[in-house]
């Protein structure tokens, strides 16, 4: 068991090093491009100026308040979407009639871009947290719901039949057969939803000025504070990376018993 484990770790370490090297190249390109005069430094400041602006921002309370606002909207929105997506997904998925009944509606509502609901959000909640939540929940909900539906459909029919023949109650079948088998799908849904929720949180703030990082980016933009604007955009990227990493780690930890994750290690 030790040998494949170290091998996997070496591969993972190598990949991380390559990833960091790629990032370093990007940073250097952004530093060199404006300095070489290929693009105007007024509109694409070199990395060093962006980093300096980031440092100046990080020293202010307003910046951390904005980060907190964005993460609050993200977390609350994601929690609602995940709870609703799981509940609705299991109910619809477990009852074939419901599934048939809702299939067309889900397929109609799902592709509506959340951003198209912006006017509706402004009408209902103005430029408050409510607007951000509406958009975040709408976008993230479908990610979870669809994955849960796949997960429920993927239950091993033999296990399901066995549970039935042992006269498991409906709840017991959900709890002991359906849920554990759908769980990897649920986690995929949560991971996708986590990224989408961040995108929508920042978008809403940017467009309608709901409190958060997006609103600060808009202010930086209208102030022609270009390096600050880039610095704040970098922050949203860093948040995205952090959220994705955290979701992957959580998935690996919580599903360590599951075949889909156990199977990953030796590969």
């Amino acid at each position: 068991m030790t040998q494949p484990d170290t091998a996997a770790r070496t591969i993972r370490g190598g990949r991380a090093a390559l990833g960091l090297a790629g990032l370093a190249v990007l940073l250097i390109v952004v530093e060199v491009l404006p300095r070489s005069g290929l693009v105007s430094a007024d509109f694409l400041p070199p990395t060093s100026r962006i980093v300096a602006a980031l440092g100046a921002e990080a020293a202010t309370d307003a910046f951390w308040l904005a980060v907190r606002d964005t993460l609050t909207a993200w977390a609350i929105g994601l929690a609602i979407a995940v709870a609703a997506g799981i509940a609705v997904g299991i109910v619809i998925g477990a009852v074939p009639v419901l599934r048939a009944l809702t299939a067309s509606t889900v397929e109609f509502l799902r592709p509506i871009p959340s951003v198209a609901l912006l006017p509706l959000a402004v009408l209902l909640y103005g430029s408050d947290l409510g607007s951000t939540l509406l958009l975040v929940v709408y976008a993230a909900f479908w990610q979870v719901l669809v994955q849960v539906l796949y997960g429920v459909a993927d239950v091993d029919p033999v296990a399901e039949e066995t549970a039935r023949s042992f006269r498991f109650t409906a709840w017991a079948r959900i709890r002991h057969v359906l849920w554990p088998s759908a769980l990897p799908f649920v986690f995929t849904g949560v991971r996708l939803a986590a990224s989408v929720a961040l995108v929508l949180a920042v978008t809403t703030e940017l467009v309608i000025g709901a409190p958060g990082l997006g609103a600060v980016i808009a202010v930086a933009q209208s102030s022609n504070a270009i390096p600050t604007m880039y610095a704040l955009i970098v922050v949203t990227g860093l948040l995205g990376v952090t959220i994705n990493l955290a979701a992957r780690v959580a998935e690996r930890r919580l599903l360590s018993w599951h075949q889909s994750v156990r199977g990953e290690a030796p590969a």
Binding site: S40, D42, F43, A75, I76, G77, A79, I80, V82, A83, A84, I86, V122, L123, L124, Y125, G126, S127, D128, L129, G130, L133, L183, V207, I208, G209, A215, V216, A218, V219, A220, Q221, S222, S223, N224, A225, T228, L254
Partner: protein, 320 residues
């Protein structure tokens, strides 16, 4: 896993509670005699007096607790004021006139911002790149000019500058783009010229760009550019609050007009304008009186350009 689900459910409940709490409480909530007031603004130089007045306590002494809401530009502020989400709003005069011709129930309660009236020293103008062949307003005819909103104050005043200079205003090719994008668009030649206001104006001139037309100076002396307004419903329901707001606003305007250094200081609190630009930019004027003659001029120009459709704005209904 069970604990995870329980935590998720608890979070969802809290969130649902928070979402309900934040909705629909747009009205004026009076707690202990202090009115909580939301003002819809655009975070630009023009609204510095209201921030300065808030800092100086001009609103607090009149039992008004201000919250500034920066929405998606002027267009979104009017509906939010009408629906009661905001008590007051900031908008340019032409937008207010357009709203009036559509019978939107709003009325001006205080002056907003005015041109300095001095060509060469104003806060808005048409800029071109330093190597541009354009040197006079009349030469803008046939050129591509960026304005932040089409069929609004920007294209109206640019046409007037060209008209007064003897050019053909109907030959200008206007394109719409946010103020913030204009310096880059002028620099890389996407547009021949752009009607910009501060801080974009200073950004362009600092990069070597030139101002070819002072469009807030040309139409009328001391042009009133924007104003604060309220819904007619609020004016009827709570005249005392409106009166207090107007007084506080007037005090703020007068203070800002006589304390330019403090204005530059307050800009740092709600914008991210770089310090060098902040110290150099041209501040507008903040008189307390609305220049009615200039509003009439804007109404006349708008009608001439057909931005009100077939309607004619009724100034008595929109101005105090």
């Amino acid at each position: 896993m069970r604990r995870f689900i329980a935590a998720m459910a608890a979070l969802a409940l809290v969130a649902a509670g928070a979402a309900c709490g934040s909705s629909g409480d747009g009205g004026t909530t009076t707690a202990g005699g202090v009115a909580k007031v939301k003002v819809g603004i655009i975070p630009i130089v023009d609204v510095a007096p209201i921030y300065l007045g808030q800092q100086k306590g001009f609103f607090k002494t009149r039992d008004i607790e201000l919250t500034m809401e920066s929405g998606q530009g002027g267009a979104a502020i009017v509906p939010a004021v009408v629906s009661g989400q905001f008590q007051f709003g900031f908008s340019n005069i032409t937008s207010l006139l357009i709203a009036q011709t559509k019978n939107v129930p709003i009325k001006v309660v205080a002056n907003g911002v005015a041109s300095t009236g001095v060509a060469g020293k104003d806060f808005g103008g048409v800029v071109v790149r330093k190597d541009s062949p354009i040197t006079k307003p009349a030469e803008l005819a046939g050129k591509k000019v960026a304005v932040n909103t089409l069929k609004n104050i920007g294209d109206t005043v640019v046409r007037e500058s060209v008209r007064k200079a003897g050019g053909d205003p109907s030959a200008i090719n206007f394109v719409e783009m946010p103020f913030a994008n204009m310096p880059a668009a002028v620099d890389n030649g996407q547009v021949d010229a752009a009607f910009v206001v501060e801080p974009a104006l200073s950004t362009v001139t600092a990069a070597g760009g030139r101002v070819v037309a002072w469009c807030y100076v040309d139409p009328a002396p001391n042009l009133t550019v924007a104003a604060y307004f309220a819904s007619t419903k609020l004016i009827a329901d709570d005249p005392d609050l409106v009166k207090r707001f107007t007084e506080a606003m007037n005090e703020s305007l007068a203070y800002a007009d006589t304390h330019p250094d403090e204005v530059r200081g307050v800009l740092a609190s709600y914008t991210k304008i770089p310090a060098t630009v902040r110290d150099a930019l041209t501040l507008p004027k903040w008189p307390t009186e609305i220049n009615k003659a200039s509003v009439e001029t804007l109404a006349k120009l708008g009608a001439q350009d057909g931005i009100f459709g077939t309607a004619t704005p009724d100034l008595a209904k929109i101005l105090p």
